[in-house]
């Protein structure tokens, strides 16, 4: 029986291959050898690995629709993949499925400096858009930490954020239209109808809004129209140290209560500060219980006025040291320290798990106290580095696999995510659900909520072949033991990307 199923799957893949070669010609790159396919068996959530049956790399966006149609014709599941930096297993292949790797579709097709719009291919990296737009004094605002290598197509799938989305919003706020190969094999533009003349408004249901953040379950993007922003006239950055975590949390609330929306507010606890400082020597105070990095940007005088207010608020809330970046070099050093946190964790622990829960901003102190309690009870250390302005925590559960701490660490990580939900928050602020947190979805959503979402998924993908097994809890996934131990992605080991 099982042997027959395996034979059927192999035949279906062969049929897909035959069809796509016939339709796309020799420019379509095909990876069918086991060693070649092995490189696509995981994304940055490396604990989950599934060897795909076939990897296809379109050389031209017109090749994507024939691939999807061939998969549909032969009942083969598929997943689109950008750089594979996702942290929730969203690009994990289906068994005997096809990976559509979009890395070669990486062109910036148009930048319009008046209309403030760029039209790009899905494999273009996040930072490459800003690099090209920068020639016109423009940039693309969402800034996930992996922006050097992560692709805009992956950002669209995950509705990626970043440190600066507190003020500027997420991917969803910056995408005007998405040309999509729908799971029925047709091509349609979601958002306005002409991808080359993207409009802010589109008639009917906001399908673009559904597609962005659907984790690749609603089709494959082939061209994306994004909004660009004018670079701010002024940027001011400070680091404020505090004698305890609650004081830092109160300062965050005070800044917000003063009616100020900073571009970013990041927080690190002592464990994270020490690790970063030892690794990078960014000038952080190793004795500080907590530090905030606060950045403001905007029109010159207004930015200066608000920055003075923020500095004063820090001082009023028991800040022990205030360091204001004197120039662009010092500002870059402060951010380099913050972004080195991942690499620095290796100094503290051989292994760690990363969570991505969100709590309402006013419950930050409570959440951190709760995490400390859970950490003490589990006998495992947790370092905290996070986007404080929007309540998006990134607790790092430190453990030693060699000491058999893996299962306890996984339980602690899941408990922290669910603590966030219990505090009125969310399982994920920016990494997505994927396979990683699918089993926790019933903690946040009722069966009726999930049924409504599944109806929506089915409207896009009646056949269920487009990135199956993601977002929604399935018996196959959630019946099994959790396999979550962290292993570094090759790009992280080389220091090209950071984890949060």
């Amino acid at each position: 029986m099982e042997l027959q199923a395996a034979t059927d799957r192999r035949r279906a893949l062969e049929a897909v291959l035959r069809d796509v070669i016939a339709e796309c010609g020799p420019s379509l790159r095909v990876l069918s050898g086991q060693a070649e396919r092995r490189a696509y068996e995981t994304d940055a959530l490396t604990a989950h690995r599934v060897l795909p049956g076939l990897v296809l790399l379109p050389a031209d966006r017109s090749q994507v629709a024939p691939i999807v149609r061939a998969c549909l014709r032969h009942g083969v599941p598929y997943v689109a993949r950008g750089a594979g930096t996702g942290l929730s297993g969203g690009a994990l292949p289906a068994e005997s499925g096809v990976v559509i790797a979009l890395a070669k579709l990486n062109r910036i097709l148009d930048v319009d400096p008046d209309r403030l719009v760029a039209i790009v291919e899905p494999g273009a990296t996040n930072l490459s858009i800003s690099a090209v737009a920068g020639e016109f004094g423009l940039y693309y605002a969402p800034d996930p930490s992996s922006q050097v290598v992560c692709t805009i197509g992956g950002n669209v799938a995950e509705n990626s954020g970043g440190a600066h989305c507190l003020k500027y919003g997420f991917t969803s706020h910056h995408v005007l239209a998405v040309e999509t190969v729908l799971p029925d094999g047709t091509v349609a533009v979601l958002g306005s109808d002409d991808i080359e003349a993207p409009c802010y408004d589109a008639p009917g249901y906001d399908l673009r809004g559904v597609f962005v953040g659907a984790e690749g379950t609603c089709g494959v993007a082939t061209r994306i129209a994004v909004r660009l922003l004018r670079k701010p006239e002024a940027v001011r950055t400070l680091v404020a140290d505090f004698p305890d975590v609650p004081s830092a949390c109160e300062t965050v609330s005070a800044v917000i209560a003063a009616g100020i929306v900073p571009a970013a507010i990041e927080m690190m606890d002592n464990l994270a500060i020490r690790a970063c400082e030892d690794a990078v020597h960014a000038g952080y105070d190793r004795e500080a219980a907590a530090s905030l990095i606060i950045e403001l940007d905007g029109h010159g005088e207004e930015c200066a006025e608000l920055f003075d207010q923020v500095s004063a608020l820090c001082s009023e809330h028991a800040c022990t040291r205030l360091r204001i970046a004197a120039d662009e070099a010092e500002r870059a050093a402060i951010w380099a320290g913050r972004k080195a946190a991942f690499a620095a964790m290796g100094r503290l622990s051989p292994e760690f798990l990363l969570q991505d829960g969100v709590v309402p901003r006013t419950r930050l102190a409570e959440a951190l106290a709760g995490i400390a309690d859970l950490s003490a009870a589990a006998g495992l250390r947790v370092a905290n580095v996070f986007h404080a302005g929007d309540g998006n925590l990134h607790p790092l559960v430190l453990y030693r696999e060699a000491d058999g701490q893996g299962p306890a660490a996984e339980k602690l990580a899941a408990d922290i995510a669910e603590l966030c939900v219990a505090l009125g928050g969310s399982l994920s602020g920016e990494h997505g659900i994927g396979v990683d947190k699918a089993c926790s979805m019933p903690k946040m959503f009722s069966p009726a909520d999930l049924t409504a979402m599944d109806r929506l998924r089915a409207a896009f993908d009646p056949s269920g072949l487009c990135n199956p097994g993601k977002v929604f809890p399935t018996p196959a996934l959630c019946g099994e033991a959790r396999a979550g131990a962290y292993q570094p992605h090759p790009l992280e080991e080389t220091g090209k990307i950071q984890r949060w």
């Binding site: 929007d390 309540g391 409207a459």
Partner: protein
């Protein structure tokens, strides 16, 4: 995978109740009532019971957009959200507010203002309900800086035609767990579900708003000045241009000194007959600007969208077709976001329909669309409310079919598409 529920049961597995209400306790009978009825639920459960009825359902907020899109056919039940008009939970320190779908925008703004906050959202219909504004996908001039309601909604509770009560999002401003059902309903015009509750991200109320007005700005100049603004770093919150008045209004929100500095920068950058309005003048300008967009019964109102910019060809075509039809066309344009609202007055239905048909062809030729928000009686028989169907219409049809298989919610609203 999550199984599809039976359409005859509620999420907790109980048989779906028939529609009953204080207004019409006899509606549980299998025979349809002889005349349309109206129900005004006050809780989500009442709302669920109200929509779990037989026959077509029309959702109503304050009734400011009942004419948007194509006319609804044979609505047997009107469900009014007037009884669901409360703030459920305002958390000023979190900058979030949880409201029922039937709260009026102006009422909500007044409540937020007491805490120095606002929803940075200024559609012309300030008396409309927040749920209705989401369902109509409406936006005002300040969308340029703050986005539309779709960017401000962080959580929603929907009631679907089968009585299912479903939530998405939550109370946190950053959240990627699950699909975004609130966005699905943006622009759905009551055809998918009822927006029972929303959680919104609010912003600090800016200390000051300043408006710079440029007069005698023809189409080409309006385009040039708009690009000068988008190429600068002075961050206007709104740029609006009106024809035939040919005025360009530019708005700045911020701190007292900051907004003044940016308005001054605009005055030195722009050319032409310039003036900064005082607070009273600015207030009356923006009030009349909103009234012009809303228009009056007997008018026809077209809403068009194109890529950002003022297309001189489209503006020229509008006045040429209007002249030929013998009607007056008042254009309000948000050039930096490519939104056009045209109020048509004078002459008769045939002339209005002719203008809609002709100008729609011009707009569609440049990749845009035109829908009707209002029409003079008789226009419907001569021209469709929606033009060329978008390429994604098949997905919209399947969405509609999956959520409302019996086509009960606002049937006909998207005719002729579905």
């Amino acid at each position: 995978m999550v199984g599809a529920p039976s359409s005859a049961s509620t999420p907790d597995g109980k048989p779906a109740p028939n529609g009953t209400s204080p207004a019409d306790g006899a509606a549980a009978a299998s025979e349809p009532p002889a005349s349309p009825r109206s129900i005004t639920p006050t809780t989500v459960k009442d709302l669920r019971d109200a929509v779990s009825t037989v026959g077509a359902v029309l959702i109503r907020g304050t009734g400011t957009a009942t004419t948007w899109g194509a006319p609804v056919r044979d609505a047997r039940t009107t469900v009014s959200l007037a009884g669901m008009d409360r703030v459920l939970d305002h958390r000023p320190a979190d900058m979030t507010v949880h409201v029922q779908g039937g709260i009026r925008l102006d009422v909500l703004q007044a409540e937020l203002a007491e805490h120095g906050q606002w929803l940075p959202y200024d559609p012309a219909r300030s008396e409309a309900t927040i749920g209705g504004l989401l369902a109509t996908g409406d936006a005002g001039p300040r969308r340029l800086a703050y986005g539309s309601l779709r960017e401000l909604v962080i959580g929603a509770t929907m009631v679907f035609p089968d009585g299912a009560i479903a939530k998405s999002g939550g109370h946190v401003i950053k959240n990627v767990a699950g699909y975004d059902l609130a966005k699905l309903c943006h622009g759905s015009l009551g055809t998918l579900g009822v927006v029972a509750e929303l959680v919104l991200r609010v912003h600090p109320l800016p200390a000051t708003s300043r408006t710079v007005m440029v007069r005698d700005v023809d189409t080409a100049s309006a385009q040039r000045l708009t690009w000068a603004l988008t190429r600068s770093a002075i961050e206007p919150s709104a740029v609006e241009w009106c024809e035939p008045e040919q005025v360009l209004a530019v708005r700045f929100d911020g701190t007292a000194d900051g907004a003044a500095a940016r308005a001054a920068a605009a005055r030195s950058m722009l050319t032409g007959s310039l003036a900064e309005l005082d607070a009273g003048e600015a207030h009356s300008f923006w009030e009349s600007h909103a009234a012009r967009v809303v228009a009056e019964p007997g008018d026809t109102v077209m809403r068009a969208a194109t890529r950002p910019g003022i297309d001189p060809g489209l503006v020229g075509a509008l006045s040429a077709w209007a002249d030929r039809a013998g009607v007056k066309a008042l254009l309000t344009c948000s050039p930096a976001t490519g939104a056009y609202t045209v109020r048509v007055t004078g002459s008769d239905a045939k002339a209005h329909a002719e203008l809609v048909k002709n100008w729609r062809a011009s707009v569609e030729a440049v990749g845009g669309f035109v829908m009707l928000r209002r029409r003079r009686p008789g226009v419907d028989a001569m021209v469709e409310s929606w033009g060329r169907a978008p390429g994604s219409v098949e997905v919209m049809r399947r969405v509609k079919g999956n959520f409302d298989p019996e086509n009960r919610f606002a049937p006909g609203r998207f005719a002729p598409w579905f």
